[in-house]
Symmetry: D2
Subunit: 356 residues, 4 copies
């Protein structure tokens, strides 16, 4: 199904080259003030053509809210919000309808939808669908903020170039086109992306996300742990290949005596020394910072010659993918990881009865 | 909630030291033959005390099916199946009710349940809850087998000791106590675990899982991709810190030209050259082998002295965790990952209309 | 929540005096041809101002489909479809925001939404919300038709004036403004409504609905019987006070020997003699015609003086409801009952694996 | 599916002649004291063989709670509770496996489950399944009581013999075998049932249910009105043919000026004069007593000769139903309607954030 969430329930609407792309949100807490400027700001951080390292597709991506917010306040009815698609060039996609692009959903989607799905621009498999996540996430963020919960994501690595975590202020992160938390890494990372852009190749990277202010005991065992719900959401974002919380994969190499975070008292509050748990124990928040990392694969659309199969003619063919694509999706994925996480947290906060 | 699954819906019942541990399954396909010997066999592969490298807790873990299967055939009603707990020693847990064990859910669970949850033996946060997953998974596996879908998991690493993938036959994997697919790694991995057992310490490891025979186009965009649904389930298993599909985190360091799997024809069938995608594109199966890896942290219960806080008395104290625990949970987690994956796949097969 | 349906899932969007009123449908079967003219035709049968016995509000109610149907075929993505509101006069509703209208949702809605809901024109409690049901139902009907399932509703009584069931052809029913299946009842029923219109009073009535062609064994015990699912849906329609299937309330006065429908063979097919069951046994269809009746209360908005309370000023006041309202909602409710039933049936058909 | 409820989620387990009949409840509010004696008392009011007007099947129906309640307090884990079946005589049901009983689910169930369902004693279509509803409902009632919400059902009519509502105290209602609220009706109603018992025939009747103490604004538009949710539940009870709220079907014959309940102030509280609304406006509670009536058909199992079809041999045959059955199910349905309603109300109270 195209919906996620038990209480703050999101349905993504539209398609990459259709009339619009957006979201319907049911279960929105009632009587909350929503600042639409902040949503537009987030959309502009996700939008294509925003810097030299992104795709050339130009979209204004101005938010339209049809219903669910009246006089700036949530009404309790579903919110319908979207942006209209403008800079569409679908001609190319009819050419390749029988020759699935390597690394794309083209082949299984063609089988699943019996050729009836909107394949133009990747249709509903396009990264453009994440606009709906950004809209829903920014609304969620404003409600979380009232509860002093803050979420921020940033680029941890571009290809093999890792960055440190120096400055996680949103102003800094969105003040650089890499969306890194490390001023020292920017030039080298931009350099890598620009050189791949010239070559027609692409690379991936890692996005890290931290959550501060979550109260103790958010999460719903057995099957709705924070990790389960965040992972479910994050793997919906196109190009994600892995996710890890706290010590993550590295935990597999540690001893228990190293990995356990001892409990201590800090000004009367229970805290842990170290945070290998990533703020989550038994699926529940323990009051420490929640931290997770998401691995993105390199953009599948590259300009180099690739081998594929012509499905209708049943023969192998060479394919040169055209269209406008990001050489590295990571900088534009940062606001998406960030917003998606807000959706999950708000959902769990409502479920746990934490929302005030 | 304690339930998962849209069509093959599982609710875990019981607690570690309560009367029983098991599962209720709603949405079971009707009129299917179920072999209960195979379920008992799987339970014996998960059960404690099965080898020198596991905990000393002794449980018979004999399957009881109360309803939902009549004369060996599914009736269409919910299946209620469980094992009774026998070798229970809960006395210790009352001693530590105010001093949360580091690395355990004790602290947030105490807050969440207002002291009313069954904390004995970890209650519903215990690895023992995975018995219900094994039961449900083995029933799912039998139905998947009729559709020629095979799932197998194995130990990929114990601590820092990695193994190769040499023999993925279930007989071989369950013929060694590490549950590895690599005969060469067994001695060293057993040696590590035994030495940690002597020291009272613990280690983690990685479980890999492969799925063969899945038809093309299983998975339900946008939010019910194979990755989303498997990750949601796998993060429910205690001690999991990360999951990656196909090339996983390594994909973040690759170029698009390396990572894309070109399409080709093999005896008239569409296949890819290479499988960085891990058998999934756009959340849908592409007909190749699905492959994913799960990172387990070291067992939290270690016998060494640790620091914690006495919550009622509001002071820092030293804690020595007693009880019987596995120095490395990975070998016993293998059948759990395996079975849990079967649950998810059957659920998605029903949803996609693939089941025959 | 504002959604219904497990597989064919409907979310109603908009409000009576907001930008639009419509529906989002997730889980739409893929690659189905949809005739939008037929949807517009159904909307015109529901729309206000269509005859002398309906409200004077004039709405064009032209269907806009934003996404989910491409080149007349369903894509598998959610359908977003709506009509824009035009003839809006909200001024009156601000006057009565503190004086709940008797028989309306005003009072509990004011409490529930803390004054933040869109109260104009009844907001989301308005009968105008049923536009979304008609759109979703007409799409469902077209898919049901391919499976030879036909649903038709008609007016059974207006006030105390009962009609016979003479002609259940859709052409006849929608060829008269009462939407009756009995030519002999029209004049008297129109006369009653016109006289109430003059007096500023209102009346209710009963809508009957029949379903032909449903295969045997549709319905999902224990909790998703045909009756449970239809009743859940039908009670969502504003002004409904009761529902009964087959012999209904009259069954309570019958003997078992009268009520049981004996089974017989008709040209080799199993049928029942009589249909007190209303085509449903144990919640499952038995191959006979499904039949149910829905009771509608008189329109709450009447022009006569009524007593109410000024909530803010905490005193009793007299109220004269203005605005444009139907003296009897039944004729316009007929296409709504009809379409809503189609939604439920398609949902159950998908769930039971019946759809071809 | 065999589950109902969004927050207080119930799954009915077992079958009429299987090992057990009961319920699994997920989403139980944590740390609530539960009195199991009260549940057993309710089961004894539902159980067979309790009086001369009920079936002769003798069942002890003693409650077993396996998990979810520890030391009399809810733990937050799912509750598994059931009674074991004892007085089983299934021999007869194999005789009639090919000759569906008129008025029973036998025929469509045989088709749906491909002969694999547990048909003994009606299997999962038996009224015996309502034991699970009584257990879940009595737990819900105890939590509702803490919130001063009281639910009580009683027999309104037996066949055509209607009763008045004189005394709705539970002690009175369960102090007479008819479960009527009218002392004057008992003898005649008992007489009718006894005479039908002698003749081998059966009758139906009407159960009325009232809810006091519900706060204003319970219910979740658009699709989860109180009426929708109660009707969904009530139609799951075997033999129900209709439901009406407040003025019900009679509303269809009233004028708006008669039907509207004017608002007034009573000691500063907002109340209505009259209660045609049955305590519900726009699907939301308005603070008045909620009232609804449920019509039960006559028991299908009668001892008189009936016509049916031998499905395997494809011929019409005569059938004489044996087994032990109630000549009128209404008295035993009273505690079921009552308990089922408690389940729905608790579910809606949690959803609306009303529970303290």
């Amino acid at each position: 199904m195209n919906s996620i969430g038990r209480n703050y329930q999101i349905t993504l609407i539209g398609s990459s080259h259709g009339n619009l792309v957006g979201v319907v949100i049911d279960g929105v807490p009632v009587a909350r003030k929503i600042n639409t400027d902040l949503i537009n700001k987030a959309l502009s951080r996700r939008k294509p053509g925003q810097s030299k390292i992104t795709t050339d597709r130009k979209e204004d991506d101005r938010l339209i809210i049809e219903t669910g917010i009246l006089n700036g306040v949530t009404t309790g009815g579903p919110i319908v919000a979207y942006v209209r698609n403008a800079d569409i060039d679908s001609s190319y996609y009819d050419e390749i309808v029988d020759t699935p692009r390597p690394g794309h959903a083209d082949y299984p989607a063609k089988i699943k939808y019996n050729n009836a799905h909107d394949h133009r621009g990747g249709g509903r498999f396009s990264g453009r669908m994440t606009i709906g996540l950004v809209i829903a996430g920014e609304i969620a963020r404003q409600i979380l903020s009232e509860n002093n919960i803050n979420v921020v994501a940033y680029t941890k690595s571009i290809g093999a170039i890792e960055a440190n975590v120096v400055n996680t202020a949103r102003e800094f992160i969105y003040g650089n086109i890499i969306r890194t938390a490390d001023p020292a890494s920017i030039d080298e990372q931009v350099g890598l992306i620009m050189s791949l852009k010239r070559e027609g190749d692409s690379c991936g990277g890692i996005v890290e996300c931290i959550i501060d202010g979550l109260p103790v005991a958010v999460g719903e065992p057995f099957f709705d742990s924070i990790e389960s719900r965040i992972a479910h959401m994050i793997f919906s974002i196109p190009a994600v290949k892995g996710i890890e919380f706290g010590s993550g994969f590295n935990a597999s190499k540690m001893l228990g005596s190293e990995h356990n975070d001892p409990l201590t008292l800090e000004e009367g509050r229970i805290r842990t020394i170290g945070n290998n748990a990533g703020g989550i124990l038994g699926g529940l928040s323990n009051g420490m910072q929640v931290i997770f990392r998401t691995a993105f694969k390199p953009t599948s659309s590259i300009k180099l010659l690739q081998k594929t199969v012509d499905i209708e003619r049943n023969k192998e063919v060479d394919l040169k993918v055209r269209g406008r694509h990001d050489p590295c999706i990571v900088p534009r994925a940062v606001p998406v990881v960030d917003a998606s996480t807000c959706c999950v947290l708000l959902d769990l906060m409502i479920e746990g009865g934490f929302l005030r």
